[in-house]
């Protein structure tokens, strides 16, 4: 059977995913059946399965995932989220809506080290949201910033999304890390700019109570929080700077990151129990991601051996769609998928097909990666069913919160992400300039 086998495989894959089959299993089963149909021989399909299982992740570059996940879990158990929030808060005296701005920076840094925006949003729902409410911040305003800023973290190294994307497209993890910096900074300032302007235009959103809150004992920045917060920022800088300056490969940076995370935990007098539970839960987070990567490479091989990638590229080329139309189509697919499944699965399912299309359309690799990650994360905020919104609603310790509140608050962030993403397509240099200096 020719390349049309890809169509059958897509349909099968979509059915399996919707039925709730584990996404890695769905990818693997659909790929084996696809190769089987393409060659008419089950033995060939199985031998590709066997070799992929062993070879796909047998690479020292892939050690970055378990190592960074370990760093994130240790920091998280050591209370880094609260520390980052405290530190950012105390650095921002007198700014209108300053708890919101502290949430943007704190949550973005925490999301970057913990690797998963959903987990980070859940954590900050419990830390930052109650505090903003206590000072009279508007409900939607407070919910929106928690959900929106978690997306930002996915652009900041060592985000797992950047790693998975780089590996899947056989690009450089280090270059993609560096590419995320410019857009990440731009988006952070867009978010904080929105926070401040909204709070200035309508002070009821974020009443200025700096006098009252200075009295609250928990607002004092303790020595412990200072170590934790500065430590996490130092770790991000070490990882990023080390890769940028060529001191480390990403794998080495991840090793140092994990060791640094443990050191910070140790300074913060983390208990042995907490440490052990961090190590164990790191395994439970990393294993499913690694398994997805194995299944994802099965799928990539299927696309290659059946000629599917070529067929899809030809299809788009001969359809006379302009690059803008192609990008628009991808964007819609990503936004829709963000309402159904997690970001890593979306990358695995779509990027092997979208990437060659984007390259054929003349979009620079790194800019496309950053654009894609931003859109996929925006999908998690899309009304009315974005996963991040549900997470925040479920995690905040406030029974009066409704999904409508959360969506209303998230809309400005959703628009800002889309705005900055489009800006990157128009001016790819925002993403590609910094890596071009190094790589």
């Amino acid at each position: 059977m020719g390349p049309e086998v890809i169509i059958y495989t897509f349909v099968l894959l979509a059915v399996l995913v919707i039925l709730g089959v584990h996404i890695g299993v769905a990818l693997g089963v659909a790929s084996v059946i696809g190769v089987w149909l393409a060659y008419g021989d089950l033995e060939i399909a199985l031998s590709i399965l066997g070799s992929t299982s062993y070879e796909a992740i047998r690479s020292d570059a892939l050690a970055v995932i378990p190592l960074f996940v370990l760093m994130g879990e240790v920091l998280s158990k050591a209370g880094a989220a609260t520390d980052l929030y405290r530190l950012c808060d105390s650095g921002l005296k007198r700014l209108p809506g300053r708890l919101a701005a502290a949430t943007v920076f704190g949550n973005a840094a925490f999301a970057a080290v913990s690797g998963v925006s959903i987990a980070s949003a859940a954590t900050f729902s419990r830390i930052a949201y109650p505090e903003m409410r206590k000072l009279g911040y508007d409900q939607s305003y407070a919910l929106g910033v928690v959900a929106g800023s978690a997306c930002l973290g996915m652009l900041i190294p060592p985000s797992v999304l950047l790693i998975v994307w780089a590996i899947l497209t056989e690009g450089s993890v280090g270059a993609l890390f560096i590419a995320g910096v410019g857009p990440g900074i731009l988006l952070a300032f867009a978010f904080v700019g929105y926070n401040v302007i909204a709070a200035m235009r309508d002070p009821s959103l974020a009443p200025d109570q700096s006098e009252a809150e200075a009295q609250l004992p928990e607002n004092k920045l303790s020595r412990d929080s200072l170590i934790g917060g500065l430590g996490v920022i130092a770790l991000i800088l070490l990882v990023l700077g080390g890769i940028w300056l060529g001191w480390f490969t990403p794998t080495e940076a991840a090793g140092f990151g994990a060791a640094g995370g443990i050191l910070i935990g140790f300074f913060k007098k983390m208990t042995i129990q907490d440490f052990i539970s961090a190590v164990i839960s790191a395994g439970r987070t990393a294993a499913p991601i690694m398994f997805l990567l194995i299944a994802g490479s099965m799928y990539a091989r299927l696309l290659a051996v059946s000629g599917g990638t070529g067929m899809i590229t030809d299809m788009f080329n001969s359809s006379g769609m302009s690059p803008i139309m192609i990008m628009l189509a991808m964007t819609v697919v990503w936004l829709l998928m963000g309402t159904l499944i997690d970001s890593i699965s979306i990358i695995l399912l779509t990027v092997p097909i979208f990437f060659p299309l984007a390259i054929a359309a003349g979009i620079p690799e790194l800019a496309f990666a950053i654009y894609g990650i931003m859109i996929i994360e925006a999908g998690l905020l899309t009304p009315p069913v974005g996963l991040l919104i549900y997470t925040v609603k479920a995690a905040v310790p406030d029974k009066t919160v409704t999904l409508t509140h959360a969506f209303k608050g998230a809309i400005p962030y959703w628009m800002l992400i889309l705005g900055v993403a489009v800006l990157i397509l128009i001016f790819p240099a925002i993403a590609t300039w910094l890596p071009a200096k190094t790589f």
Binding site: L16, G24, V25, G50, A63, R284, A286
Partner: protein
């Protein structure tokens, strides 16, 4: 039975979780040794490469048992308890078949690697490939078994309506 199955999954999971710490340590020794003492850790890359495969496969059975594998709940969330059970069964059977396929297709490369003494790496540090190949076979058998076993628990009423373990806590958020 349930106790020993989950216990075994936990033990191999804990081993592999701490193995990640060992990798971090090897990287530290390698980088520091290379930068400051001009003596890199020989074979660090070979060890790390093989460790990534081993760690992942050792962690899979517990991830399956604890429901950590990623999936969508689009359809699942909107149907009744019996349909949920049926959907779980479909996911379980396919999970079993997939890992049975991995185990089956990894077996003959293992036998071959063992009989011809397949090595990789060069010079002083040559690592045989059969141990990791065998590990992939064994853990895949276990992972496939885990999918079947969860179905048995589910259909004999030992899981709750959502297919979660009644005693064991579901994974912590985060």
């Amino acid at each position: 039975m349930q106790k020993s199955v989950s216990r075994l999954a936990e033990i191999i999971h804990i081993i592999s979780a701490f193995w990640v710490l060992v990798i971090a340590l090897i990287i530290l020794i390698d980088v520091i040794g290379r930068q400051f003492f001009n003596t890199p850790f020989l074979g660090a890359i070979e060890i790390i490469k093989n460790s990534v495969v081993s760690i992942t496969f050792l962690q899979l059975p517990l991830a399956i048992y604890s429901g950590d594998m990623l999936r969508t709940t689009l359809l699942y969330g909107s149907v009744g308890p019996n349909a949920k059970k049926a959907l779980r069964a479909v996911a379980g059977i396919l999970g079993f078949l997939f890992f049975a396929g991995v185990a089956y297709s990894s077996w003959s490369p293992f036998v071959e690697a063992y009989s011809i003494n397949e090595y990789e790496g060069e010079g002083a540090l040559r690592v045989p490939t059969y141990p990791v190949r065998l590990l992939v076979v064994l853990t895949s058998v276990f992972a496939g078994f885990m999918y079947l076993y969860l179905m048995v628990l589910d259909w004999t009423g030992r899981l709750d309506e959502e297919g979660e373990h009644k005693i064991l806590q579901s994974p912590s958020e985060g």
